[in-house]
Every structure is written in C-alpha cells, then in structure tokens.
C-alpha cells in the first residue's frame, strides 16, 4: 500500500540540471487509501493508513533516477466499520503483532508520459515481499505565492491479497485490493534557496 510516487517530469525553471531532491513524506499531506469489493461488488469497503513515513528522491530531469521508499505502520489501518477493523487487525489479515510494518520500495521508475510514470518496486506485506507496480500521475501543479511549487500526485495500484497470505472471507471480501494514494507535495523544501 503505500507509496508515494512522485516523479515529476515537468521542467522547473532555475533548478540545476540532474538535481534530485529528497523529500520526506508528510502524513498530513498524503492519504493512503485502499478499497476492497464485497460480495461480488455489491458494496465496497474503504480504509486508510494513518501512520507512515518515507522519502521520495525526486529527479525532475531524469525521472528514472528517482526513488521512493515508504514504510507504513500496519496497526494504523482503519475503516469506518468496527467489524472490518477487527478483521484487518487479526492474524488473518495484517497481523500487526507479527508484522508491524508494510513497506514499499521502488526499484525502477519508467516514464510513460509527460505527467505519468510507473514505479516498479517491491511491496512487503505480512513478511512476504513481491514485485509491485504503481502507477503515478501528476494531477495538478501550481506555483503558489510564498509557498513555491506544489504538486498533487495520484498513485494507484492493485494486488491480490492471496499473494500475501490473506486467504479468508472470500467472497465477502474480494481478492483484489486497490490502492489509491493522494500526495500533496511541496516541491520547495523549507530553507532552500528559492529562485
């Protein structure tokens, strides 16, 4: 779940070429959300992770050198539904007692379009690490006075929960888990010499 992909290909003026800037993931400006279908899609359940941290090395000019590494506290998962919360925290699902962290790290970043990259990486869930692709799009970019450039990224991906050993409750809970991450990134780190 859990990533942040911020690869950003628009050219920013007055930045030195081939400069990768390291951003820390700020949970106040990032939403990590997942959705599962229930009973063959008759309804769905959405939840969030509230605690996570990580870094995004963003190379504007050469996105392939960018890098994302995000770690999520698995016990911070939550939905609006108590029954679902109990399930997700049980041994059949995230099992935080055994596996306190969920981790995504990018391995390769491939540019698909001017505002669109795919992150090939690895997702570790319940101690199982598997290749995971995430699709990252720049949805909005704005240069805000006094703040500097701000970028909104939407990162999506999906995985099969069986691949990570979560085999209970089908068809009440679909195998497919969809991820959607919204990241609001201040591209000008505080204290930097803004142009």
């Amino acid at each position: 779940m859990l990533i942040l992909a911020l690869i950003f290909s628009a050219s920013l003026s007055a930045r030195p070429a081939r400069s990768a800037i390291l951003y820390q993931v700020d949970p106040s400006y990032v939403i990590i959300r997942f959705v599962v279908g229930n009973m063959f899609g008759t309804f769905s359940t959405t939840g969030y992770f509230k605690q996570f941290s990580g870094s995004i090395l963003l190379d504007i000019d050469e996105p392939q050198y960018s890098h994302v590494d995000v770690t999520v506290t698995s016990a911070s998962i939550g939905t609006a539904w108590d029954t679902a919360n109990k399930m997700l925290l049980s041994a059949a699902y995230l099992d935080p007692a055994q596996y306190p962290l969920v981790h995504f790290v990018s391995d390769q970043v491939v540019q698909l379009g001017p505002d669109h990259v795919v992150l090939h990486g690895y997702l570790t869930l319940r101690g199982i690490t598997r290749p995971q692709d995430l699709d990252a799009r720049l949805e909005d970019y704005e240069d805000q006075p006094g703040v500097g450039p701000v970028a909104d990224f939407v990162v999506t991906g999906q995985f099969n929960r069986r691949d990570f050993g979560m085999t209970s409750d089908y068809p009440l809970v679909s195998w497919k888990v969809s991820l959607k991450i919204n990241a609001h990134i201040f591209l000008m780190p505080k204290g930097s010499n803004a142009p």
């Binding site: 229930n38 008759t42 309804f43 769905s44 609006a80 539904w81 029954t83 068809p171 009440l172």
Partner: protein, 183 residues
C-alpha cells in the same frame, strides 16, 4: 372507504396476508436471535442471515401496507356480540398498536441499515440492492439499533398477547380464530 355495512367475514386476501405477515415476523425474529450471536469468524453466514432478515422485514412492511389498504377498502367483520364495548375498544386499540409496530419496526430496521458505517446494502431477495436513505453515522446508527431493538421487542410481545387472546377465545368457543383461519 369501507362499505356502509361491514363485511360478514375477512376476505381471502386479508386472511392470507395476515398469516404471511405473522410468519414473516416470527421468522425475522428467530433469525435476529441467531444472526446477532454469530461471531466474526462466520461473517459470510452472518451476511446471508442478515440479508434474509432484511428481506423478511421488507415483506412484512409491504404486507402490512397491503393489509391496511384492504382494511380501508374492504373493512373488517364485526366482533362477536359477546364483546363488551370496553373490550371492543381494547381490541381495536391493540390491533392499532400492532399495525403501527408492523410498519415502524421494518422502517427502523431499514434506517439502521442505512446509517450503518459498514455501508452494506439491503439486498432484497439476496440480489436486488436497495439504496441507503442516509449517510453513514455511528451516532444515528447506535440510536436506530436501539429503537429497532425495543420496537421489535414490543412487536413480538404485543403479537404474542394477540395470539394468546385469540387462542383463549377459540378455546371458549368463539369463532374469531377460525374466521381468520378459514373465513
């Protein structure tokens, strides 16, 4: 409007609907006792039992509305002369309470479902999704769960008293149970 002269008997439709609604209430009540005791390790079964309970509740509501329409259009046979005026009034009051509860309990059940944070839809007959009428709210959900629970208890108690009185009258040789049974 009821005809000027009351009918001498319940119509076949009125009798059939009476027993269908009664069966629906009994079945929904028994299901509620089972489904609320299932643990989260039996979620799928729980899901199906709740959906059957919801379907039964909607059938009870529809059947009750149909009965009220028939009551207005067809009227009802008079009570035996052996009932004193006070008893007659008590009977009508009791029946009125039953009709109100037969509408209120399913409506509260539907609102319980609508306000639930789970966002599980009502699947009528297990397949037809019906819309939630409200946004999710834990606060209102807790309230509706409580109202639905106590209204349902009131319905089951009132209906049991109703059945008991009918049986007692039947044992005393009065035809009120028979005429609801076979016209």
């Amino acid at each position: 409007m009821p005809p000027s002269a009351p009918p001498i008997a319940w119509s076949a439709a009125q009798r059939r609907l009476h027993w269908l609604v009664a069966d629906g209430v009994v079945a929904a009540f028994i299901l509620s006792l089972i489904m609320t005791r299932l643990g989260d390790d039996q979620l799928l079964l729980k899901f199906f039992l709740y959906q059957i309970h919801k379907t039964l509740g909607l059938l009870v509501l529809a059947g009750t509305i149909a009965r009220l329409v028939l009551l207005v259009r067809h009227g009802r046979p008079p009570l035996p002369d052996s009932f004193t005026p006070l008893e007659q009034r008590a009977v009508h009051l009791g029946h009125g309470v039953l009709y109100v509860l037969l509408v209120v309990v399913p409506v509260l059940g539907y609102l319980t479902n609508s306000t639930s944070p789970s966002r599980i839809p009502v699947l009528f007959m297990l397949v037809i999704p019906l819309p939630n009428l409200t946004p999710p709210s834990q606060y209102w959900n807790d309230l509706f769960v409580t109202f639905h629970y106590f209204a349902a208890i009131a319905l089951v108690v009132t209906a049991s008293v109703h059945a008991l009185i009918a049986i007692v009258h039947h044992l005393r040789g009065q035809p009120i149970l028979r005429r609801m049974w076979s016209g």
